[in-house]
């Protein structure tokens, strides 16, 4: 399995994602330059965190027009797996690959801390090694992570089980106190209807070694490895 990590001007978690995949997960990985349109035969694309194009206009708004995004959108629309982390999630909503928008945190502060996430859908390629209700400790670092969408679209997300992670407390209770940014229904991560595109504000690539405070981010990568081993066994 090969990962491709996109580097935009202003990406700053691209090396973290690269290092997590190469040195901890142990899979092949290459950087993908924003000006290129070549995905280098990657099986999974990571849109990393950062401040693409200085977050000018709106977070992720300029990045969606980068040449590499044309290929990423095509790849995603033909079923390719794409993960957007933090700013990458914002790029995915701006590009229309995921519904909704990420607006300013309700308290207006940049939040950089460990949070707890409840896995609310484990029937995905990204969470298959988890059980529903599992609590993962993974850090956030954002000023605009407040997930917003219209009531009707939130209902669609709920009905289709597209909400993969919700902010919760240490015991797995999803409540207002554990919501770090004001996201509707404590939404921390969603996927598209087809299940191949995942966007999440927390940073799994920053939770891959005990030295960093948690290894729970590995569950996501292990799930992907499981998904790919099934693909290769099945031919």
């Amino acid at each position: 399995m090969k990962f491709g990590v996109v580097t935009f001007p202003g990406s700053n978690c691209d090396y973290d994602a690269y290092a997590a995949v190469r040195h901890v997960v142990g899979e092949d990985v290459e950087f993908l330059w924003h000006k290129s349109n070549d995905l280098l035969n990657s099986d999974v694309i990571i849109l990393p965190g950062g401040f693409t194009y200085g977050d000018y206009l709106r977070s992720g708004a300029i990045a969606k027009f980068a040449p590499i995004m044309e290929s990423v959108i095509k790849f995603a629309n033909s079923g390719g797996r794409v993960i957007g982390i933090c700013n990458g999630f914002q790029v995915l909503t701006e590009s229309g690959l995921l519904p909704g928008a990420l607006i300013r945190n309700d308290h207006l502060r940049f939040s950089c801390k460990y949070v707890y996430l409840k896995v609310t859908n484990n029937q995905t390629d990204y969470t298959s090694v988890c059980k529903n209700g599992d609590v993962l400790k993974i850090p956030i670092a954002h000023g605009e992570g407040n997930y917003y969408n219209f009531d009707g679209d939130i209902k669609t997300l709920e009905d289709n089980n597209q909400i993969v992670f919700r902010y919760c407390d240490e015991n797995g209770d999803v409540n207002a106190q554990s919501n770090p940014n004001g996201s509707i229904n404590n939404i921390a991560g969603i996927m598209n209807k087809e299940g191949n595109v995942l966007g999440m504000m927390p940073h799994p690539e920053r939770a891959v070694e005990q030295l960093l405070g948690s290894t729970d981010g590995l569950r996501l990568f292990e799930s992907l490895q499981t998904a790919f081993s099934k693909v290769s066994i099945g031919g």
Partner: protein, 78 residues
Amino acid sequence: MSKKTVYVRLKEGVLDPQGVTINKSLKQMGYDDFISVRFGKFFELEIKDDATDIDRKLNEVCEKLLSNPVIENFTVEK
């Protein structure tokens, strides 16, 4: 050369933490006549004299780039 101004506003119902904070600040300053404040953006675009079909193009750039239709409305000043 002519100029067009584009206003981008958050849609009604979309939480505007910046507006809320500004209003709180106004209240602290002693101005308590304001029910609410909504924070928005405007863009000034200088247009070439030989531009054609500019209204359509302005609409297009507003939809594609200047605003996010999920959370924002735009108006082009006449």
